[in-house]
Symmetry: C2
Subunit: 391 residues, 2 copies
């Protein structure tokens, strides 16, 4: 028997050490590959996980859905606000309208609050609106309007609509400037006017009330104002290590940027930009005594960066705490390694597998997903593939 015990221990010991193949793998690259989890989504814009396998997905030109990543079941959420308009229902040149971001409350399990941004219409125009409602039996109930970025206009671009909860449990929201041409700017540019709701970033309480510790932009400033000088920001996310909020912004001719959100900051649009203005004869008015906050990063080509996220999973160890940024125009995925507030390296991924990408999101189990902005939009899982010696 003793011999058998010895052999058993040896086998066990050997088996235990077999797991060291993980160590061996350290010598082989882990590369990202795409796996389609769901398709037939109508230009999906955002995703909010309810569990490891269930999520809400907002379709820009469709519905708010509850989806199951395993059974592939899709359920349309009823009770979406009736003032919604999208670029299918109301066709205008370059129309960006539709459903944008969806978030669930940090305490969703207990309170069922869901936050949605979308294009709301009135008789003579549209604007960005943020509501919350409680999700019960696949229907939104108890709707509350949190932000309505009046005026309603016939400019159908750059609604913004990015949302994130800060580590302070406040809701941060991007509202776009809505113009396409700078020549259409009023005397005080929209994003530089503290009395205009557009071209700003907001910080509000989850119920829509205004936090007392918001920055002071003076007595005439719109309520909830947190930062200004924004052109077209969609992606906004929290860096888990630091609590800092980062957001992406679309430039005009180049000038796509990554910015770090600071209370009271002015990001300069249209007075300063890392790109070029579209209207060559337009000269922004001089604004005295303002320090414009420069971007943390800008591209010299068009990327159209959107719903970014910080990666904290374990599948791609080299990506730990990196910022992942999808892009509509360029169609690749960007990975930024950051030390404090400095971008140390920037990697363009999927260069030969490009697709318009709206959103990157990490699931609660640390898996990484992306949404593609297509008629047949997809939820894609970014899988790690470990190279073997034979490759």
């Amino acid at each position: 028997m003793k011999t058998y015990t010895l052999i058993s221990i040896l086998i066990l010991a050997t088996f235990g050490c077999k797991e060291r193949t993980i160590a061996d793998e350290k010598n082989y690259p882990t590369i990202p590959v795409k796996e389609v989890v769901l398709d037939s989504l109508n230009h999906p814009w955002s995703i909010a996980f309810i569990s490891n396998v269930e999520a809400l997905i907002s379709e820009k030109d469709g519905d708010l859905l509850r989806v199951n990543l395993e059974s592939k079941e899709k359920q349309i959420i009823k009770g979406f606000p009736t003032d919604l308009t999208d670029s299918i229902r109301a066709i205008h040149f370059g129309d960006n309208s539709g459903i944008f971001d969806v978030l669930v409350d940090p305490d969703f399990k207990n309170n069922q609050w869901v936050y949605v941004s979308y294009t709301a219409k009135k008789a003579f125009g549209t604007t960005t609106k943020v509501i919350r409602a409680q999700l019960k039996n696949d229907a939104l109930t108890n709707h509350q309007t949190l932000i309505e970025a009046a005026p309603f206009t016939r400019e159908y671009y750059h609604y913004g609509g990015g949302m994130t909860f800060g580590t302070d449990k406040k809701l941060y929201v991007t509202i776009g400037e809505r113009l396409f041409w700078e020549r259409d700017e009023p005397e005080i540019p929209i994003a530089q006017n503290v009395t205009d709701k557009r071209g700003k970033i907001y910080r509000i309480n989850p119920n829509g009330s205004i936090p007392k510790d918001n920055p002071d932009f003076g007595p005439d400033a719109v309520l909830g104002l947190y930062a200004m000088g924004i052109r077209a920001a969609q992606g906004i996310t929290v860096e888990p290590r630091t609590g800092k909020i980062w957001f992406s912004e679309h430039g005009t001719i180049q000038g796509d940027e990554i910015n770090i959100l600071e209370a009271g900051a002015n990001y300069g649009w249209p007075n300063v930009t890392s790109g070029k203005l579209r209207s060559k004869d337009y000269k922004p008015p001089t604004i005295e005594g303002v320090a414009f906050t420069p971007p943390a990063w800008f591209w010299s080509h068009t990327v159209a960066p959107t719903g970014l996220t910080f990666y904290t999973g374990n599948e791609f160890s080299e990506w730990k705490n990196n910022l992942i940024v999808p892009g509509l125009s360029r169609g690749s995925l960007w990975r930024f390694r950051i030390e404090n507030e400095t971008i140390e390296s920037a990697e363009e991924l999927f260069i030969h597998d490009r697709v318009r990408s709206r959103k990157v999101m990490q699931g609660p189990d640390g898996k990484l997903y992306m949404l593609t902005d297509e008629d047949d939009g997809k939820l894609i899982r970014i899988q790690p593939k470990i190279y073997s010696k034979t490759q």
Copy 2:
């Protein structure tokens, strides 16, 4: 005794498994950091390792050196060709002249052959020259001229001079086109003229004779011609997995490229470029019946890519078989992941630690080094730093 044996086995097994801390590290990123190995180099251009700790370094504006990476000793190699000229000794606007690449023979231990490219001068101008000589007692002896890219002209730009041995043991050499402005092109552009030695890539035997299996460019073609349509290529290297040769090329206004070398290929300069021509009124003549080979990659901003290399070391497991490219203008380092001949991802490294970089080279022990193009030029080792939980 049996109990002791059992305990010993258990201890051994446990000890064996302890090495799994390497596996733990799989969960933390490995980041590159710079460590200066040697300084006070006079615009170093290239490095050829003789052993793990000894190498030859060519200084563009100085000497050919033998250096010891541990003792830091530098020894000037005597007997360098006397027709050398550099941008210090002969000052002209934008002068690129000097010592360029240095290679040692694959069988260096037995034959001591060293290959050097540099700017040679005659009374009325300069050109790129490639010689080989035997290194004995820190002196070059038994000089042989392999290539002399006549004519000697007063254009002091774009000498090329990149060299590599192929897996076929042939010597591949880049010779630049030498013009700064396209308006100075002759009727048949230099790089498109098979009778002109400039703007070409050569394949020769180590003794300067011409391999019989070189591509056929017709009876008037210059000897050793392997590919044409080159503007200003410096970096040239072999991909160890495939034996393919890759080279970097400087564009004009943008248009910096990475190309894959193919026998008989025409890379298109100045008829096609991924950048813009400097002389706006210049129109290259139509060239009939020629298929131009597109680059594997081009940048939309200026990088000035130079001495590239494939990484096959183990210190950066995620970089295995990746192409590493330094740049003079941009000053960062680029890492390309390649599948077959397709670039899958591109990472810009050291974004906030930029320095003009001329050459990246892997030592025989797999360590990665770079040379900085400065008055106080440096040999830098790129060290792996593994992040711990606390970071």
